[in-house]
């Protein structure tokens, strides 16, 4: 079969290995940080933890559904293969050819290979020059171990490998969630050919930037929300702050969405998400304090790492109790009041804790908000640049346009689980709001250099939402390539939004065959 030729189904038909890779990544990141915090050198066997995702995720399956037209599947495999071959060539031909890839992400990979420990000059001494000292270390950790095993050039094969996992994860989410292989292949192909990932420049697959890794973590979180996959949700909320600094606000966004949605729209999702986030910050914040030598005591940063995410769980319980008192109907002012309270709480917390001078890039954004009240005066310019940025077809294709079309079409919108829809919409909005706190003097230059990359991080999520909305398109279901046979063999997945279950099948919730 064509699908087998790229290894998509070669090990075990239906084995969700993209999902297993995310679980392995989370284990690897957790193990490395525990060892570093214990003051021990990173052992050579650490990558074995990546493989632990396989037994952990073995039960995760991509169920058989409507098959894609054979020509589409064959073409897709061929094109994805060509694209991957191009990216492997681009990655291993030289060291990074892009600014941040060369000076930051790849340079830091040299510090985090086997044997690295916190007492090394680059890691333990903030007077030694090390670029982006406060940045998350997952990509440098992976790079360090790949470099140690394969050499600095062939070690860069990590980058196309991350791209392959991104494509596979989207394929799995769409094939399993929509039961339409046609949609899964279309999504995989459109993401595989996205100009922002392929054209040379910052953010492309072989640039060495961590945009790809963050896009992977965001897609994993979105996939977990869509399929109510608890295991994947814990892993992805763990990974979000480990990929890039902006992963932390995105994580809080996800937790806020789950806290504010009524429990019937996000059953059993809030607590696992908070636990994954707490585990991540419990490790990362103390480690970051050590790397930046901010002077924050271990216990203080660990406590912050625990309290911040778990406060969203408390918030969720509080809102639930308030709803019970006020009636089942969600009142807009309750949400508004909660959002204001949450913003104020985070603002005060940020002011007192995160905003110490050594804390890094997020601090700079917070300080702009605190000292200057943000850049509200430049709102028209920011908005104008952002709207233009949404239509950068040469970077992010038609994805924002497709997403807006879904938002404006009730028939399409209702197909998408509410937490996923909110995650995409607010994530897109976050790429706008970030610039109101921009610490850069030249705002236009900042937007020009960063907006495209911020939007690129959300392309997997936007692809998933837009194609998920087509899962019940009548012309698609009745096409010869997507017979109903698969549906007869396996029960229809319950609609992830129980609010809408009455109009659809009522089979029990299925957290992705876990």
């Amino acid at each position: 079969m064509a699908e087998g030729s790229l290894g998509f189904h070669s090990v075990n038909p239906g084995f969700a290995w993209g999902r297993a890779a995310i679980l392995g990544l989370a284990l690897f990141a957790a193990g490395a940080q525990v060892i570093l915090l214990a003051g021990l050198p990173l052992p050579f066997w650490l990558p074995l933890l990546l493989g632990m995702g396989v037994p952990l995720g073995w039960r995760g399956r991509v169920r058989e559904g409507g098959a894609a037209p054979p020509l589409l599947a064959k073409m897709a495999v061929l094109l994805v293969g060509i694209v991957l071959a191009l990216m492997v060539w681009g990655a291993v031909a030289t060291l990074s050819r892009e600014w941040d890839g060369f000076v930051s992400w790849e340079a830091r990979a040299r510090f985090f290979g086997p044997g690295a420990k916190l007492s090394d000059p680059w890691l333990g001494n903030s007077f030694v020059f090390a670029h982006s000292r406060s940045y998350p270390i997952l990509q440098p950790l992976l790079g360090g171990f790949f470099d140690a095993a394969l050499g600095p050039r062939w070690g860069r094969i990590l980058l196309p490998l991350e791209f392959l996992i991104l494509l596979r994860l989207l394929f799995e989410a769409l094939a399993d969630g929509t039961r339409q292989k046609t949609l899964a292949w279309i999504g995989t192909l459109s993401l595989a050919l996205l100009p922002g990932f392929l054209s040379p420049g910052g953010g492309s697959v072989d640039s060495g930037y961590a945009e790809l890794l963050l896009a992977l973590c965001l897609l994993a979180a979105a996939s977990a929300l869509a399929r109510r996959d608890i295991q994947l949700l814990i892993a992805s909320t763990f990974l979000l702050p480990q990929a890039k600094p902006e992963g932390l606000p995105y994580l809080f966004l996800l937790l806020a969405i789950l806290a504010f949605l009524p429990p019937r729209a996000r059953p059993s999702l809030l607590l696992p998400a908070c636990l994954g986030a707490a585990a991540s910050l419990l490790l990362w914040l103390p480690l970051k304090a050590r790397l930046t030598q901010s002077g924050t005591p271990f216990l203080a940063s660990a406590a912050l790492g625990l309290v911040l995410p778990m406060s969203f769980w408390g918030l969720g319980l509080g809102i639930q109790a308030m709803r019970a008192r006020l009636g089942s109907q969600t009142r807009p002012w309750v949400i508004l009041l909660g959002l204001l309270g949450l913003s104020l709480g985070l603002f005060l917390l940020g002011k007192s804790t995160l905003a110490s001078p050594q804390q890094g890039v997020l601090t700079a954004y917070l300080r702009t908000l605190m000292d200057h009240g943000g850049r509200l005066r430049e709102a028209p310019s920011i908005l104008g640049h952002w709207i233009l940025g949404l239509f950068q077809i040469r970077k992010i294709g038609i994805l924002p346009l497709a997403f807006i079309l879904v938002l404006l079409s009730p028939g399409l919108r209702k197909q998408v689980p509410l937490p996923l829809l909110c995650f995409g919409a607010l994530g897109l909005l976050a790429t706008l709001l970030a610039f109101f706190a921009s610490p850069m003097v030249d705002l236009a230059a900042h937007m020009h250099s960063s907006l495209g990359r911020l939007l690129l991080q959300w392309t997997g999520v936007l692809s998933l939402i837009a194609l998920w909305s087509l899962r019940k398109a009548p012309w698609l279901s009745s096409s010869p390539g997507s017979p109903q046979a698969g549906r007869a063999e396996a029960p229809e997945p319950s609609h992830p939004d129980p609010e809408r279950q009455d109009e659809e099948s009522s089979s029990p919730p299925r957290p992705s065959d876990l």
Partner: protein
């Protein structure tokens, strides 16, 4: 939100069409934007080497400073630096690896031959071997003898 409106075939087909368009657009960019431009960049970097490729935008003295440090100091040495943490110094750090760039004021005594278990970087200035200081601004790098007010 309205949950009872049926899916509009025209909108769903439009959405599907957008994805088909994106695939075709992506395909059309493969030969030039993806393959040719990448090949050109790779050839440039291979021909020039990482130093000239990444620091082509700065003055010759900056590149010469990095080249001299690479050629005339031990690979594991500590190089003192002073000034901006932005600009060409960002490239200097990976280009000089595994040498360590250390804020100059952290070296307690200029007479020390080693620090942090590594030799302190020295260069020949006017026939005399002295501790070298890499002075960094956002635009350039310069090599000076570190004399601490002398």
């Amino acid at each position: 939100m309205c949950f009872h409106r049926p899916m509009s075939p025209s909108r769903s087909k439009l959405l599907f069409g957008l994805f088909a368009g994106q695939i075709l657009f992506g395909l059309s960019r493969l030969p030039h934007a993806v393959l040719w431009k990448r090949w050109h960049r790779i050839e440039q970097m291979r021909a020039k080497g990482p130093l000239e490729f990444h620091l082509g935008f700065v003055d010759l003295d900056t590149r010469e400073a990095i080249r001299r440090l690479r050629e005339e100091t031990a690979k594991n040495s500590v190089i003192l630096f002073h000034g901006s943490w932005r600009g060409p110094i960002e490239f200097a750090a990976p280009l000089l690896y595994p040498r360590v760039l250390l804020s100059a004021h952290r070296l307690p005594d200029l007479r020390l031959r080693t620090f942090m278990g590594r030799p302190v970087g020295r260069l020949d200035f006017g026939g005399k071997k002295e501790v070298v200081l890499l002075e960094s601004t956002e635009k350039k790098l310069r090599l000076l003898p570190e004399r601490r007010g002398k």
